[in-house]
């Protein structure tokens, strides 16, 4: 891989979403040699996906928030940071060596500091039939829309809860796409529970935007509230969606596409594989890395910024990126960061307002997180909830032991799509807490490598150790 300028960088940033872009731009501008790695074809992450390439050039279609990304991208471009797209980071070890694969070849670079900004992924939504072709995440539909101008054109159901669900529905409709029914799974009483935290939220710009979104979608889509059960049915392909509400009403619709979304959670695989400690977040119901005020993990020199540090949205991600970069530079002895660091901290505090309200309002219901019966939990190895419960009955005590019984988490996605479900399901089955149960122990390579990529590696003892365990 001769594309890189160096083998050594002051700062390596993983992930070119808002946090990664902000971190890399701030560091490079302050004079640090900076490498930004991203696995997609272009920068932007999920929020600004397709920023440089979207076919949706009519600026109203994606809205101002999307195009604001260009400003941050400009800062990155003029900062002097080196950016490598379509680069997969498959290992980071405590000595701050970064394993990268790009264009079929592999390489290891040495960083002095690392910012992991791998963002969020959608929370698993394990309902009966969710592996059928035609069932996708709402985020997948949003990706299709932003980067390819593709919208649903056949009978479509969108289901779940959270701001992204409404945002996406609005965008699809505005572009002439089709959504027939929205199944809102927000539990009854969630609003009342969130109300005490509403004040902070009312003072944010999200409030006004949120209202507009709700109105727009409500006027065009049939909305079913308080949905407590959803099932995707079909033979080798989604044919219909069946649901039930808290009031006991049943319904169904023939459909080709079911889009699922119940919020996003930090994508923690890379951070966890470095050995950084993670804690269970009882409000957001997910793991998050244990960080100090600067965003540094328990592994010295490794920082996490953006939604990977806990869900906060674009504003928080940008601020966290800048805080981490400034702090990393300060620790490298680059002076003059203090003013910028405190500015970034103030930006972060402001961006965090109102989050608690959203977290409480959109806390996903238990039946959509912890499936019953023979619903598939691990899509890769096709392991069902009932298999896991039986394994617990005969003594499986945690996710790592479960691997030996059932191969859960051992497929290509390495537990990304089942990890949270397995933790919560085992905790419930054993009558204990997610903290007690823990998560899969993750090791490099965190993304599958081909043999030829392995063969390319320089065979220094450290490099070999990073891969072969």
């Amino acid at each position: 891989m001769s594309v890189l300028r160096s083998d050594n960088y002051d700062l390596v940033v993983v992930g070119a979403g808002p946090a990664g872009i902000a971190a890399a731009a701030a560091a490079a501008k302050a004079g640090a040699t900076t490498l930004l790695l991203d696995e997609n074809a272009g920068p932007g992450g999920q929020v600004w996906r397709g920023l440089t390439s979207t076919p949706l050039t009519n600026r109203d279609m994606l809205g101002k928030d999307f195009w604001d990304g260009q400003l941050e991208l400009e800062k990155l471009r003029s900062s002097g940071a080196e950016v490598l797209q379509r680069a997969t980071v498959w290992s980071i070890d405590p000595s701050l060596q970064v394993g990268i694969s790009h264009g079929g070849a592999s390489r290891i670079v040495q960083a002095r500091r690392i910012v992991i900004a791998t963002g969020a992924m959608e929370r698993p939504f394990p309902i009966p039939g969710w592996t059928l072709p035609g069932v996708m995440t709402a985020g997948a539909a949003q990706t299709m829309l932003k980067s390819s101008g593709l919208v649903p054109s056949e009978p479509t159901v969108i289901a779940g809860q959270g701001p992204l669900l409404w945002l996406l529905a609005g965008q699809i409709l505005r572009m002439g796409g089709r959504i027939d029914v929205m199944l809102d799974t927000t539990p009854k009483g969630a609003f009342a529970a969130a109300l005490p935290k509403a004040f902070g939220f009312l003072t944010t710009p999200y409030f006004r935007k949120g209202l507009k979104m709700l109105r727009e979608v409500r006027s065009k889509v049939r909305i079913i509230k308080h949905v407590t059960r959803i099932e995707a049915q079909g033979d080798g392909q989604l044919e219909r969606v069946v649901w039930e509400t808290a009031g006991g009403k049943r319904g169904e619709m023939a459909s080709r596409l079911l889009l699922l979304h119940q919020g996003v959670v930090p994508n923690v695989n890379l951070a966890m594989s470095t050995g950084a400690a993670h804690d269970w977040d009882g409000l957001q119901l997910c793991w998050r890395p244990r960080l100090d005020d600067d965003g540094q993990t328990t592994v010295p020199g490794i920082y996490v910024a953006g939604d990977g540090a806990g869900i906060g949205g674009v504003g928080v991600a940008l601020a966290r990126g800048r805080v981490a970069a400034r702090a990393a530079l300060t620790s490298l002895g680059k002076s003059g960061q203090d003013a910028d660091l405190s500015a970034a901290r103030a930006e972060l505090a402001k961006a965090n307002r109102g989050r608690e309200f959203l977290d409480l309002l959109y806390k996903p219901a238990e039946q959509f997180r912890i499936p019953e019966g023979d619903t598939i939990v691990c899509r890769c190895e096709e392991v069902r909830a009932s298999d896991i419960r039986s394994a617990v009955d005969i003594g499986a005590s945690g996710p790592n032991q479960l691997k030996a019984y059932l191969r859960t988490g051992m497929g290509p996605c390495q537990g990304r799509l089942c990890g949270l479900t397995v933790t919560e399901l085992m905790a419930k089955a054993r009558g204990t807490t997610p903290e007690q149960i823990g998560y899969y122990r993750l090791r490099a390579p965190v993304k599958p490598l081909t043999l030829s990529e392995l063969a390319d590696l320089p065979m220094e003892p450290e490099a070999v150790k990073a891969v072969v365990r």
Binding site: E39, N40, A41, Q46, G50, S53, P55, L56, T57, N58, M61, R86, G104, M121, E122, T131, P133, G134, V135, M136, T137, G139, A140, T143, M144, S147, S148, G149, L150, V151, P152, S153, E154, T156, M175, G176, G177, G236, Q237, R256, L257, N267, R379, C380, E381, E382, G411, P412, C413, R416, L417, P448, T450
Partner: protein, 101 residues
């Protein structure tokens, strides 16, 4: 089969030719392999590794690995992360996982 997704009229990107199981498909420049497959109207369902049941891409953002395809002879590539290129040969992975693959 009519595809589940259609291009919006405003999308005026130039097209290029790829081959899906040998069949010529027009894709838009900038699309990922998975997006091009889903827009093609072909049956692009792969078979799952364990029981051989049909699957399609689920997350389109590199997380779930449901989009695995063979591209220019290399198997198990994540189609949702790789942009189409002129003349690219894509094969849908059928049949259960074979040992050693």
């Amino acid at each position: 089969m009519t595809p589940m997704f259609s291009h919006i009229p405003a999308d005026q990107r130039p097209t290029l030719e790829i081959f899906v199981d040998g069949q010529s498909v027009r894709a838009r420049r900038g699309d990922t392999v998975s997006a091009a497959l889903l827009a093609s109207g072909l049956d692009v369902r792969r078979d799952s590794a364990v029981s051989g049941v049909p699957r399609l891409p689920y997350c389109m953002m590199g997380v779930c690995f449901e989009c695995l395809v063979t591209i220019d002879g290399v198997g198990n590539r994540q189609g949702c992360l790789i942009p189409v290129a002129p003349g690219m040969r894509v094969e849908i992975q059928r049949g259960k996982r074979e040992l050693g693959k």
